[in-house]
Structures are given as C-alpha cells and as structure tokens.
C-alpha cells in the first residue's frame, strides 16, 4: 500500500498533497423504553485527497478509491483555482509508522449478546424506578483503520477504537417531563461501561426528584462547578477560543488573543493534549501526520500558546501542536481539541462552599456551545448553596457568560481533578468528535444563570 500511495503522490505540480484512506466498522444499539429500537452494523470504506497550491486548498472525498490518480489531479486542479499567493505550511519531519490500537477489553470483539445483556440490565434498572416514564440508551463502538500518506514521504497507519454510551432516564408526572443523562466513553475498553448499576439507579431516582424541584431564579450567582461541568466549561469557554483557525486570519481576534495576555489568576492552568495516553482524545499522530503534544493554553493565568494545524502554525509563526483532526474521510482536518483540562489546585470542596452565603452548585453535563466570546452550557443537576452548605435540588440550570470576564472570575480551584470521557465535540459539520474534558471543582463569582 505504501508504495502504491507513494506512486500516486509522485510527479504533481502542487505545494503539498495528502491521501487518507479509511476502513471502519461501527455497531450501534439503541433502546427507547422497553423497545430495543435498533441493532445494526455499518461498514465503511472511503478516503480523500487534499492538495495545496499557492495557498489555495482543493479537497476530494469518495467511497470508491479506484482511479486515485485522477482524484489527486482533481484536488490539485481545484486548489489551483483558489490559490493566488505563496503557500505557508509548517515543516515537519516525515514519519513512517504503524500504530496498533491499545486495548484492555476490546469492545468490538465483545459478543452482541453480551452487550445487549449489559444494556438490558441498565435499562431494567431505569424502567423499574417508580415515576420513570421511559428511557433512552444509545451505545456505539467503532474500529477504524486510517492510512495516511503525503507528498513529503510520510506514511502512517493508525488503528483506533472508540466506545460511547449515553443513558437517559425520563420521569413524568402531571404533564411535567424531566430527564437526566449519563455519558461514558473509552478509547477501547469495554469495562469502562460495566458495573454501573448503582450509578444508573441513582440517576433514575434523581430524574424523579427533579419533578418536584423548583427552578432557579435567573440572575448572577457565585457558582461552584463539579469536575465534569468544569471540564465542559474549560472546553466551551476557553478551548474553542484557543483553536487558531478562528484566530489566524482575524487581526482583531489576534489582538485580543495575544500571547502573554492575562486571562485568570495565577492558580489557573489550562492544558490540551493528545499525548496523554488512554483518553478518548488521545492519539499518536494527528490527521496531518504531526506527532501529538501537550500544550499549555493558559499557564499561571497567562495565555501561553494555542492549538494549531500546520497551516495556522505557519501563518502565525508558531509551532504546530498536532491538533488537526478530521471526523472521518468526508472532511478535511481542522483545528480541534483533544483532552482539555484545568490543572488541579489546592482548595477542598468544603472550603470552597464554606464562605458562600447564597450560590449555586452545578453538576454534570447536559450540553454546551460557544460563540467564542459568549458561552453557554447546561448542568444536569443543580443545588442551591445556602450559608456554606448544599441546600435544595433545583431544575437543571443553563450557565452563560463572557469568556474574557468569566475566567478572571474563577476564585478557587479544587484539588480533585477528574477526566470525563463521555463528550463529543462539534465544530462545523464535524460532530461528534471524541474528546475528553476534565477539571477539579472550581468556584466562579458572578456567573449568569438563566431562570425558569
């Protein structure tokens, strides 16, 4: 295969060409209430060619990989229609490597009957809880083999496994509907979703309790976020803004996101990196063949670096960070996060709560989005904090704010870092991309909460 691709990549008048070929197999299992709604397997073969000519890009994706040379030529022809200036593309060392997926208990080899048995058990726990109306369960696992070759001599085969499970319990009473979800994932260890019986039971009971919970009153509060939600906050509020493709051609945003600017106090450190092994956003090479790294986005409160592809790094005069990722062969790689987290500090949760007169303790993730400047994300579970103690359960709250203000408003960072693996990130049409987020508990003053 290596020689074949090298041959196809030879002899073109382009600044850069790459080919990606992908084979994958995905198993999906979906429950809605008692009904096992869908059990199905999808297999996929496809690929793409991306070409750079005079700073213009051409991209061709396909399912039929015959006549690969014609596809390379089409991509170059398209790039040539676009290109008008000198290309800027970071130099990296060509790599030849074959990466085998590491796994403890490979989900794609667990028999379908065993998967069903486990999910049946979780579903029964949810549905047997009084006042639970129904459940939703979505399970998927995938294995992919990605072959990447470029005109600089790089040839990489990467084998990847991914596993994702989302369980939702839906409670109803008197025309009211409340739901709580649990998301889990792993890079290829089925045991990550085993043994959750107690957690699932507790989740279903909590959905029922929400039926009688009051809404939070809208307004500004001091909030304490649990590690799951604080991880989402790191991802939404700051992570996306660190993706340089938003920044590199936008002079005004460059001015705002100038390295060395202070974003938070000296205890704040935010990191992204695929080099940490075993998390859902981990890999050895990104989708441009750049080795994974660990990047300090914020160190001691100060903007230190950002996430790059080879193009954005070259155009900003910075080093590539190995963050160019494509959801699959249908899309070109763009700058994405991998494993993003706030580093732990030293404050205990108890101390964090103790001097709050009235505030909100928000837990667990439901969703989140950002416009770069403004972010919103929702907590699946929330409690009032009164006089330093957790008080009544509230309906789920949506938190929103301005990133430049809010990071500065973090005034306590806990000592209990925890990574969560159930998330999927969306950018453009490329969703859901496996990522992980994490954080210890954090406290934010003056955070805006939408009321009910």
């Amino acid at each position: 295969m290596r020689d074949e691709l090298a041959d196809v990549l030879k002899g073109h008048n382009a600044d850069y060409v790459e080919i990606r070929l992908e084979e994958s197999q995905i198993t999906r299992i979906i429950y809605r209430g008692e009904r096992l709604e869908e059990v199905g397997t999808t297999s996929s073969v496809g690929g793409n060619v991306r070409a750079l000519v005079k700073d213009g890009w051409g991209f061709v994706s396909f399912n039929h990989a015959d006549k690969l040379r014609d596809k390379v030529e089409l991509a170059i022809k398209q790039a040539r229609l676009v290109g008008k200036e000198d290309s800027k593309f970071s130099q990296i060392e060509p790599v030849v490597d074959i990466v085998i997926a590491k796994t403890k208990r490979n989900p794609t080899t667990v028999p379908l009957a065993s998967k069903k048995q486990l999910l049946d058990e979780y579903n029964d726990i949810i549905l047997s809880t009084p006042k639970i109306q129904t459940s939703n369960i979505g399970y998927h696992d995938s294995r992919r083999k990605i072959t990447f070759a470029n005109s600089e001599g790089t040839y990489i085969e990467q084998n990847k496994l991914d596993l994702n499970l989302r369980l939702t319990a839906i409670a109803t009473e008197d025309g009211q509907v409340q739901q709580i979800g649990l998301s889990l994932g792993s890079q290829g260890d089925f045991s990550a979703i085993e043994g959750l019986q107690d957690q699932v039971r507790e989740m279903a009971q909590r959905a029922v309790r929400l039926l009688s919970a009051p809404h939070a009153k809208g307004g500004e509060y001091t909030v304490v976020l649990d590690p799951v939600l604080a991880g989402v906050f790191a991802h939404e509020a700051f992570g996306h803004l660190s993706e340089s493709d938003f920044v590199y051609e936008n002079q005004r945003l460059c001015d705002i996101m100038v390295l060395g600017r202070r974003f938070g106090d000296e205890h704040l450190n935010i990191v992204d990196g695929a080099a940490v092994p075993g998390l859902r956003g981990s890999y050895k090479y990104d989708d441009e063949g750049v080795p994974a790294a660990k990047t300090y986005l914020i160190r001691e409160g100060i903007l230190e670096s950002r996430l790059h592809s080879r193009e954005t790094a070259a155009k900003m005069g910075e080093m590539p960070t190995g963050n160019a990722r494509a959801l699959n062969y249908v899309f070109p790689p763009i700058v994405r996060m991998t494993n993003t987290f706030i580093e732990p500090g030293s404050v205990s949760l108890e101390d964090m709560l103790s001097d709050i007169k009235e505030g909100i303790y928000a837990k667990d993730w439901y969703g989140g989005t950002t416009s770069l400047e403004m972010f919103t994300f929702s907590a699946a579970e929330a409690y009032m904090i009164r006089n330093g103690k957790l008080a009544e359960l509230l309906r789920p709250v949506v938190l929103s704010g301005n990133v430049f203000v809010t990071l500065n408003n973090i005034n306590a960072i806990g000592n209990d870092l925890q990574m969560s693996q159930g998330g999927g990130c969306g950018k453009g049409q490329q969703v859901p991309l496996p990522v992980s987020n994490g954080s210890p508990h954090i406290r934010i003053r003056r955070c805006l909460i939408g009321g009910g």
């Binding site: 397997t41 039929h64 705002i256």
Partner: protein, 434 residues
C-alpha cells in the same frame, strides 16, 4: 442492489434495500477570501430485513460484497424488536419538482463569483466585517426496492448560499448571518445580503437591558433557534409513543394560541426537504400538526405508526440508521400584524434574532434557556440597539399558549422552516448587572 435483495429474500420473510448516492461541490470562503473548493462523492447501501418477525439492519458506505451486507444484517435481527409493519408494495408516486437540470450548468466560476459578490456587498456596508461564506451545489439520487414489489427512485438537486460574518471591536464580538437553500440554482446574492445588512444596521449600538420579564418578539431566525427544537421533539411519533411528549394525550385539544398553526409539508416544489416519498417508500404529504391552536397530528414512520395503531405520515427518515420520524419542511402559518406594528406596541422589550444554546435545556418539557447571541432592545416603540450578556428562558408551551400577535410576513430559515415573527407578551430576561 437487486443481487442484495434476492440474496436477502432467500433467507428472510421480507427485505428492503435503500441506496443513496450524492455528489456535492462546496466552495468555501474564509476571512473574506476564497479558501477551498471541494468535491464530495458518496454512495451507501442499507439493508433492512424481517426474519422471524424481527428487524435486522446493516449498512455500508462504499463497496461491499452483497453477501457480507446480508450476513451483517442477519447477525442483528435476533436481538431486535418485532416488526409491526410490512414493506409497502407501491411503486407509483406523484410528481414533485425537486430536480432542476440547470444545476449542471452552474460552473465553479459562477459559484466563486456569487460568493465574492456577496462578500463584497457586505464589506461595502461594513468594511471591517470578516465573512465566512459557502456556495454549494449538488445532486442526490435515491433508489429503494423491497421484496413486496415496492420500488421508488428519484433524483434531487440542491443549491445553498450561506454567510456568517463577525465584527470585532475591542473585546466585543458581533455575529451576523443568513442562508438560503433551494433545489434550483441561486443566482442572486441579494436576499442574503439584505438580511445580513438589516442585522448589522440594527446592531450598531450596544445598549443595556434590565433583569425582568418583558414582551419579546421572535424573528423568524429567533423562532428557529429558540422554539422549534422542543416542538419537533413533541410531535415526533416515537416520543409520543414513549409517553415522553407533553402532547401525548392532547390530540384534538386546544393547547396553543388560536392564531398559531404549524404543519409539515414534503410536497412543496423545489424545497430541499421535499421528495416524492420518504426513506421507506411512503408517499410524501402535508401533515397538519397544530391547526389554529389545536393539536392535530404527530409525525410517523412505518414501525412507529404500526405500534401506535395509526398510519405513517411519510416522515421516515434515515440518519445513518433505521428510518425514524423526522420533519421535512415545517411551516408556521402567517398572521395579520406587520413587524413594524409589533415593535410600535412595545414600551420596553426585546427582539430575539438568534438564541444560542436553547436546545441544551429540557427539550421534552418544552423548556428553553439560552444566550441572546443577536437581539435588540425595544424602547418606546423603537429599536434602540443590540443587547449583550443577556439570557432568556421560558417554556415553549407557555409562550405559544397566548401570543400577542403573529406576523404578517413569513420567511424561510435555512430551507427547512418558514415562519412569521411571533410576539409574546412576557418572557423572563436575565442580564449581567453593570
């Protein structure tokens, strides 16, 4: 695909093969300049079979041996749910115009020129704006056959023009944007340009607003971003069947304002969501969902309809798996109040043009809560400027129960929803104090 069907027929009671192929050509502009031209070709085949009364399913993108696809589906059926339906035997469908041969004549150069003209128009209005735009054309062909003699095949063309602009001043970011879609080529950039220009005009000045309940006008984009997700969920036959829709037992009851009507229509000519039949060969139709405030029908595919003892509404749509009920084009009926008069009526209030994150709330219950990404303050009957750091929250059922007015003018948002402005007497608004 005949071979897949005949192999599947040998080992099952019923089978169906669905094949879709597409070719799309997106032209992307980034930071006001042409950035990338793409050609995306795809082809996939899905097999659904019924054996021992249960449903098996497999799907492949790209080449697959027919035998492999059949074997994959055969591995799944034993775990699956019982099939309550038969594949349709129909093979005649009414003609719906969704293919325009003119699409072939549009060249890449034409598309580049259209995008450039749009961006130029925006920069003439606001020189500092940074635009991301895309112009896309494409064709899709669909072919479905089943063991009961049913067959359908059709081709669809589509064209899309979209623009997102950002204007940054100090730490303030303003986001504007619009898009237009059709099965026919779009030659004129002015519809999109006019809408975005309107947003830029209204957003020029930043004004502050206070935390309290106030009257709110949702523009068509505001309706789409704030109110539609919970409604789409509530009218999904599956969610009704699960008992998780607040409307589950409300058919025939007046739940919404009497001036509020909503229907689903897959038969409109040259709309991108139109087609002669759905993804399981049920003919397309117009389905009333809310008729003058009264809950009328829900959306169904074959299996869900059978479980609910009713008929499919032709809304079985595939999203990488088995067909599931999904809306086609949604239309909200127009009213009789001009936008101008709604604004005039408000002493102090808010116009919501784009709400961010509304779908993160408890959709099933109809709750929405989001950040006003683009919204304007109304004072003394006039729009005075753009608001920032503002959240609104409410419940769709409460908002739509009693509307102050329904707009006279309607417009398409993203090719999938046509709606007027909706004027609601009171909504909770929260904002950062100073």
């Amino acid at each position: 695909m005949e071979e897949i069907l005949s192999r599947a027929k040998k080992v099952t009671e019923q089978a169906e093969v669905f094949q879709i192929s597409s070719k799309r050509t997106p032209v992307h502009f980034q930071a006001n300049r042409l950035k990338q031209i793409q050609t995306k070709e795809s082809a996939s085949t899905a097999l659904r079979l019924i054996k021992g009364g249960k449903i098996g399913f497999s799907q492949a993108s790209g080449f697959i041996e027919p035998e492999t696809l059949v074997n994959m589906a055969m591995e799944t059926y034993q775990f699956s749910m019982p099939a309550k339906f038969n594949f349709p035997s129909s093979n005649v469908y009414s003609q719906i115009d969704i293919f325009d041969p003119q699409i072939d004549e549009v060249t890449i150069d034409d598309m580049v020129e259209l995008g450039e003209k749009l961006i130029t128009a925006m920069r003439q209005h606001t020189p500092d704006i940074l635009c991301e735009a895309s112009v896309t054309k494409g064709i899709i062909s669909v072919h479905i056959i089943n063991s009961e003699g049913g067959e359908a095949s059709y081709g669809k063309s589509f064209f899309d023009l979209s623009l997102e602009g950002v204007l940054i001043q100090n730490d303030d970011m303003l986001f504007v944007g619009d898009s237009q879609s059709s099965c026919r080529p779009i030659f004129n950039f002015k519809t999109v340009a006019k809408e975005v220009t309107r947003q830029l005009e209204l957003a020029k000045k930043i004004v502050s607003i206070s935390t309290k309940s106030m009257p709110v006008i949702f523009t068509p984009r505001g309706v789409a971003s704030a109110l539609m997700a919970p409604l789409v969920s509530a009218f999904n036959g599956k969610i009704v069947l699960d008992g998780a829709s607040p409307l589950k037992d409300k058919r025939g009851e007046k739940v919404f304002d009497e001036n509020f009507s909503l229907w689903d229509d897959a038969t409109l000519p040259y709309q991108i969501a139109s087609c002669p039949c759905d993804d399981e060969e049920v003919p397309s139709q117009r389905t009333p969902l809310i008729d003058h405030g009264v809950v009328s029908q829900f959306l169904y595919d074959l299996q869900t309809a059978a479980l609910a003892n009713t008929q499919s509404t032709g809304n079985g749509s595939r999203h990488g798996g088995l067909p599931t009920p999904s809306p086609s084009s949604l239309i909200i009926g127009e009213g009789d109040v001009p936008f101008r008069d709604m604004v005039k009526d408000i002493k102090q209030g808010l116009i919501i043009d784009q709400l961010m994150g509304a779908e993160q709330g408890n959709l099933l219950n109809g709750d929405f809560s989001g950040n006003v990404l683009l919204g304007y303050k109304v004072e003394g009957g006039e729009i005075v400027g753009r608001v920032k750091d503002t959240m609104v929250s409410g419940n769709v059922y409460q908002v739509l129960k009693q509307l102050e007015a329904v707009g006279q003018e309607t417009r398409w948002v993203g090719g999938l929803l046509r709606t007027p402005c909706l004027y609601c007497p009171s909504l909770s608004v929260a904002t950062k104090a100073g």
